[in-house]
Symmetry: C2
Subunit: 253 residues, 2 copies
Amino acid sequence: MYKQNHLNNIRVVLSHTTHPGNIGAAARAMKTMGLRHLYLINPSHFPDAQAVAMAAGADDLLQNAVLCGTIDEALRDVALTVGMTARMRDISNEVSSPREAMPRVLQQAETHPVALLFGTEMSGLTNEEASRAQLLVNIPASQDFSSLNLAAAVQVIAYELAVAAEVFQPVAQTLQPAPHEQVEGLMEHLEKTLFEIGFFTTQNPQRMMQRLRRLYARARLESDEINILRGILSVTTEYNGRLKARYRQEEDV
Amino acid sequence: MYKQNHLNNIRVVLSHTTHPGNIGAAARAMKTMGLRHLYLINPSHFPDAQAVAMAAGADDLLQNAVLCGTIDEALRDVALTVGMTARMRDISNEVSSPREAMPRVLQQAETHPVALLFGTEMSGLTNEEASRAQLLVNIPASQDFSSLNLAAAVQVIAYELAVAAEVFQPVAQTLQPAPHEQVEGLMEHLEKTLFEIGFFTTQNPQRMMQRLRRLYARARLESDEINILRGILSVTTEYNGRLKARYRQEEDV
């Protein structure tokens, strides 16, 4: 969890954003990934109700947003500026993928403030802004249609950062596969039952059992599930027993 | 590029989407990452002008979207359904991260249609919908604020898919670092110049040169840049030459 502090050293800088909804959506994207510091360089409209609406609960980031008049103001104290670009650039900057760049961002953020710099919606960073960056990052995208929405780009970058930081443990429970002997107990029970109910009369029992084993192996059964399946098998046998008894009665008649 | 065909076998299924703007933004997110097939289960409003506005050029996906009345209609022909979940679930499904899951999605998409299933904005997938999935995926996010916007979630998943498929070559030019002898030429020139201009009188020349070497090593200079730096060095000594001549002239007066 110590890398949470690294994230705290990272600011998202949005330059000359046109649509306030994008500022709100960007704040939401940031907050889902543990980023909290938003800097705005001359936004067209801010504060704005549309920004609050799109923040959907991340309005604390909007309230604490730092409004700046110039890019140098927004980059004060920053040791590494990462510029987001959708284009080839003339200047000789190496352009990295998000996956390559984010570990480096985190490493720097351990000791110094880092800025993730996003340009305006229509045209991205100006050359002057891009020249402030020590590192340019391009989100790989379709060459026919490469324009990610601003907040969507913030989401992708923040997500890569959070994954690289490993700050968020998966919330999901992991599967608890049953031990070998329970699985074998089920297989024996299944085979016995399939014999009992007459399933194997026209089948090759061994080959069929192999296929069934494969199927259940892929499912990686849990203990509870094995109990359920064995319960079904037990009921199947009982039912089959009643069926047999009825047939015999009918014959007796 | 052959994996483009894999992406063509993948559909995004949005179930009971409330806001038409999210459908449009999801279409835009899909198209940036090379996904084209959108299925909509009972959207609240569709078609809708807000969807077209948010698609921002991905309206061809909206025009070709398949409207479905039931989830089973949307999953017709699908061999693998991947459900997106933000929550723990009671049912014993293994929940994967996007990074773990997407290679498996691509592998399946090589031969069969795959569905990426997203629930409604407020509450995600219903249990009935989730039970249709063979695989559940959770985007790791802040536990305090884990609700990604629907289109932002589509963007992250589509991005992971495109990265895993390696379909989009980086558009960026890579750095062309200058060969060793050019860098050494610069270092010699620099050292000579620093001696000449009297920089080393109060410094330890060797240690200083080591630091300068380190600095330029990090920059991984290109040939053009070395030429520029050497140009500066040349002018530096020339200027001093001119300066010296001027001083002498002044003394002569």
